[in-house]
Symmetry: C2
């Protein structure tokens, strides 16, 4: 029984100690992955932004489709900011991501929550709801500031 | 009334004539987008493949989550293979994508259908179902052959 408990404790510790990057074959893959996910997200964000600001005509179906992709993509990049992925590839990610992990995690969760709200707003087909949700999203989700907040992720 | 009809017809023609890449600010963005989407997809594919082949232990929840991302990502890249995006960026995409568009479209549709089946199989929590669906997916979805089928997309 004691052996089992120790084994279980060791397994828990190991899983806690395993960097999130363990999902990736190498740090470069994690870096390319998060950059890819954020780039795809930014493209779809941009299309909603163009409608929210009136640069392109509002199309409820297009807005809803794009917002759904944004909300899905918003869940992906964070697992790729694991230990040991602060250097490598062409990353210029902000070092604070690793030194202030609590703050980073909070920002990620806020982004996921706000993009989910944006997707829900877009589903209503109401441009004003989309505008409100688009403006309410946290700074990290804004393409213009993504580079300064995340570095070149 | 006639003017309206002509305007409507012109709008339809314009929308048909507009290359898919019109969603992107420039060809390089379309190229980066499709490469990004395919890279994210390949990472999640790889994790299911590792479980299907027994290289990593089967975890039903992890398999289902990854298969869902694969199926979502499989819908994205195709809009970024529009006219004028066969050259630019660091693309080495296979020229046949543009010369044999019917075949390419068919392959995309098959990939989307098969990845949807994979996601459904993974949801059952049954490893054998995952293995069958993983093996059944079309060649274009296999990371090992993606480079030859799509070029460096």
């Amino acid at each position: 029984m004691k052996a089992f408990t120790l084994a279980a404790a060791a397994a828990t510790l190991l899983s806690l100690a395993a960097p999130a990057s363990a999902q990736f074959a190498k740090a470069e893959d994690a870096i390319k992955y998060r950059q890819s996910a954020l780039f795809v997200m930014s493209q779809h964000f941009g299309r909603i932004g163009a409608m929210a600001s009136g640069r392109t005509p509002f199309d409820a179906k297009v807005a809803a489709d794009n917002a759904e992709v944004v909300a899905s993509m918003a869940k992906l990049p964070w697992a790729a900011f694991g230990a040991g992925t602060d250097k490598g590839g062409n990353t210029k990610a902000n070092p604070e991501i690793w030194t202030e992990q609590g703050k980073f995690k909070e920002a990620n969760e806020k982004l996921m929550a706000e993009t989910a709200k944006l997707a829900a707003a877009a589903k209503t087909g109401n441009l004003d709801a989309v505008k409100t949700a688009f403006t309410a999203r946290p700074p990290v989700a804004r393409p213009a500031t993504t580079s300064t907040e995340l570095g070149n992720n």
